[in-house]
Point group: C2
Chain length 157, copies 2
């Protein structure tokens, strides 16, 4: 599988402890492409792991056109998925139960959940999908964070 | 730590293999609150793990007001973080290097990266932060997915 970028401006910038990738404005996410092993070139989906060197997740940015349904369902072997809808309206089917989603809806799905989704509106459905290994998180936030109260030097706005 | 919800409408809906939470429209994310162990009630940040039963990640939804800087830096012990900016413009400092971010910028930070960020614009900076254990992903996407080509039954739009 290889992903294609929408523009040369979307190259990854890397530092010692970070990677930065610019996916462009939400309205341009429909122009992203991916190469699917069976379905060929698919528009409006872009997996980012290779751009951003993720080691604990895979994340895709997505834009599904008005009226379009994903043409298959899927489950996972060991990964939990999280869908974050940030623009538009649609529906998910999870184990044949239908739920409505819209801007601000966040859905966690266990590996065994049989899932598919569609855009049943007249505007693009824009969303982020996060894939992580189920039960892999050991600690988080205040247990895992190391605060540093040194003064922060910012240039004037 | 306990989070508060912006409205009773934001209760979690749970099925066998999923959890659904409605965070509301992006412009309402500024009204979410969290209880910080040192700083007390913090507006514009909401951790979702307890609402959505995540087992492989923690995710927060965030809205930082115009002109505001996070008043501290932090590192992590074992977690990789990913920042996805979905509205507005700002800057991150990572190990004292400043990078510009805006709608569509995605930043991975290794546990050791010393990070802070600010909104240096006149509009809210809206973003999602994902926390996962570094090196926890074993397989993903086509290796981990189980496609199902059974016909999908959707009600008419």
């Amino acid at each position: 599988m290889s992903d294609t970028k929408i523009a040369a401006a979307n190259e990854t910038k890397r530092g010692t402890n970070y990677s930065l990738y610019n996916g462009g404005s939400l309205q341009d996410w429909s122009q992203h492409k991916m190469e699917h092993p069976v379905r060929g070139k698919v528009r409006g989906k872009h997996f980012l792991k290779d751009h951003l060197d993720f080691t604990g997740c895979e994340i895709s940015i997505n834009s599904l056109p008005a009226g379009v349904a994903v043409p298959f369902s899927h489950q996972h072997k060991e990964n939990e998925e999280v869908y974050i809808f940030i623009q538009g309206q649609g529906q998910m089917q999870i184990d044949h139960e239908i739920i409505d989603v819209s801007e601000g809806s966040i859905v966690r799905i266990a590996p065994n959940g049989l899932r598919t989704w569609r855009n049943n509106s007249a505007e693009p459905l824009v969303y982020i999908v996060i894939q992580v290994r189920e039960n892999s998180l050991r600690q988080h936030t205040f247990e895992d964070g190391i605060p540093n109260m040194d003064p922060i030097d910012w240039p004037a706005i």
